[in-house]
């Protein structure tokens, strides 16, 4: 008998029919003889509805009353756990819902972005021992003052993984509206391969490179506590045979022997960034530090940074930021210029970032060269380059986004051959 944590997101909890459909997936795991703890998100759209109610009373409620916004938003998951427990009970399973507090999800007191400090799960263990199916509210916890906290949008994944770690669950199944993790966005590359297994590191790099399957903090936590995560669909038809494993993608630390020759496992893209170039910055020690401190003071998050020093000791400094942050940068443009003696500040918001990710890069040289060459052959100009141990990212003109993703999927054999 294995202990499985199953997490259902907002689309899987959208209405009574979908909740029943999700409950059938819990039933399947129970019928297979396993123990199940279910973690759920608020019904689709509910968290927005609740936060909008608060902001209808005070548009600055998030900043002025974060404690109250958490009191408000946490009801979304409380509704979901009750409905899921009702669905499971009506299928004949003795099921009980528990709030974050009842589970013993303790967090710090940073409302709306709380971090889990510990999980006792005493009551979960007690009720499990009594043969019950436990339904746990995602997203929420309790701070040291006995107040309700929430952990930021999409944090129900985090709850599921954290509870899996606390209970030493055999697997944490994340049910979503896709049936796994793909090598590239199927909307761009319809033949993109589904990945049967990827590593935590790849998943993390994919998330930061634009993939929206799993919550980043959840993957980090899974890696830290070695929780085996599986991404699978709550929309696919269930096979009649309950012994069949459902298709999906396993995220794990275990090296995958069948993938030894895979250099690149995924191509991702983001299109929400803009490039800022400071022209002719004086190349003095500390210049970059000054600029990025100033930007941080104005809450601008910088992604890639590239500096080229010319022959005359003058440098062009480029960096990427999220597009909405351009407004704030333009407001302090003259301050930036004065600070580092830049001649000019150039903006380009027609860019995209393309990333190739794969643990295979660690042991194989030449991936970058193949990537640049493949793009070059298509006439795609590379504006910036940034690399990590298992990721190579390039900034290109936005109009080349789809072409670049398809080109690199071909180059690294990430598409299924058409049947």
């Amino acid at each position: 008998m294995a202990l499985i944590v199953q997490k259902f997101g907002g689309t899987s909890m959208a209405d009574p029919d979908r909740i029943r459909e999700s409950a059938r997936r819990v039933k399947r795991e129970l019928d297979r003889g396993n123990q199940v703890v279910v973690a759920v998100s608020a019904m689709k759209g509910e968290t927005d509805r609740l936060l909008n109610l608060g902001m209808a009373i005070n548009p600055r409620a998030g900043a002025d009353c974060p404690r109250e916004m958490d009191m408000l938003a946490s009801t979304g998951e409380q509704v979901s756990i009750a409905l899921m427990a009702i669905a499971l009970n009506s299928m004949g399973f003795d099921s009980i819902s528990l709030t974050g507090r009842q589970v013993g999800v303790y967090t710090d007191g940073a409302f709306m972005k709380a971090k889990i400090t510990s999980i006792t799960a005493d009551r979960v263990k007690k009720e499990l021992a009594e043969g019950k199916v436990i339904v746990v509210a995602g997203f929420q916890g309790m701070d040291p003052n006995d107040d309700v906290t929430t952990m930021g949008r999409g944090a129900s994944d985090l709850t599921a993984v954290a509870i899996s770690a606390a209970l030493k669950a055999d697997r944490c199944d994340i049910y979503t509206d896709v049936d796994g993790v793909y090598a590239a966005d199927p909307r761009i590359v319809p033949q993109a391969k589904k990945l049967p297994v990827i590593s935590y590191e790849e998943m993390l790099e994919m998330a930061s490179a634009g993939a929206k399957v799993l919550h980043t903090r959840a993957v980090e936590l899974a890696a830290k506590y070695n929780v085996k995560v599986k991404v699978l669909s709550s929309f696919d038809e269930l096979p009649e045979d309950i012994t069949v494993d459902l298709p999906g993608t396993i995220v794990t630390s275990e090296p995958d022997s069948i993938r030894e020759d895979v250099l690149v496992s995924s191509i991702q893209r983001t299109t929400n960034e803009a490039k800022v170039t400071l022209v002719d910055v004086a190349d003095r020690p500390g210049t970059a530090a000054k600029i990025f401190q100033l930007l941080a003071d104005h809450s601008v998050v910088v992604d890639m940074i590239v500096q080229n020093v010319g022959a005359g000791g003058e440098a062009d400094l480029s960096f990427t930021v999220e597009r909405p942050d351009l407004v704030r940068i333009k407001k302090i443009e003259s301050q930036i210029k004065d600070l580092v003696g830049a001649q000019d500040v150039l903006y380009d918001d027609k860019i995209s970032k393309i990333s190739a990710i794969g643990v295979g890069m660690r042991t194989h040289a030449g991936v970058a060269a193949r990537m640049f060459e493949a793009l070059g052959k298509r006439g795609i100009n590379i504006l910036m380059i940034s690399t990590s141990e298992i990721k190579i990212s390039v900034v290109i003109g936005e109009e080349y986004t789809e072409l670049a993703v398809r080109t690199l999927c071909d180059e690294f054999h990430l598409t299924e051959s058409v049947k």
Copy 2:
């Protein structure tokens, strides 16, 4: 400085505008230099919406999963407390919302109809001492298993009175959509007097006689702990002068000297009852007991009972029940007949019950006579009579309801003279 508990019902919390309007009533009391604890209901329609979600998954959810229905329904008040606290904060008051559990509202474990066993209110006292305005969730509490309970529909009044008792509040203001308690329903008697003050007993008898202003259990609790309750409107225009007391009705135990000559303070009516008559019941000891035990076994609640013994030792036994219960009685009609040897069972669902209520009856004889005579003069036939220490109820034909109420308001001077 007085401590005032203010309770706002669903219509006073219906939407962001109404919540702000209710918050202005809290502000007014704070501006008068008082401390305020606010108790709120769910937004109008929200409890139904939530319970319907549960029943969409399992129509028998109320019976099958009362614990989960409470987990579900209690979110309605949690949303309201957060919104009210946001509104008060945006008006410049340091306000904090607290769930039933955080207030320390302990109940028994009877889900959906829990009874309060104790209220600690430790956190309320602590936060009040720090100068905060406390917003408390009505309707909900926590049972000995650390589970959320609710106390039955309309029980936010009960929470407000219970917290008033626990905090020894100077007054418990119940804000509603009417501006006080009237001698009779203004829809029937537009000139009905508003009662400036009534006793707990009168309020209780009025509630059981059809008045729908205050929750019965709340009035009982107020009487037990001598909580001074005021019923007032959250819809009336607020006077500019904050020293002016708002109009309303005080419910209290204190004898009211100005009302010494008032015999009858209120005329109420119910029209949801039906009369059942068992014809020619054998007049043997224990007959009535058998019938009413049988009815109780079938969850039929009996209101008035009248028995007349004829010359031959045969009796007609009549009683009133709520109309929907007639179905259940008709199902066991032959059982009832056999049990007591009745010749026939007659049903009349075209009746109404008219009650005259007043503490003055205790010391003054002749009220019943005046009541019957006034009705008789109008040609209204009395089908049944029942009396208590401060109430006289009669059953009449339903078509005479309005005429009877108006006649008795005239007889006992319960209308304002037209200006």
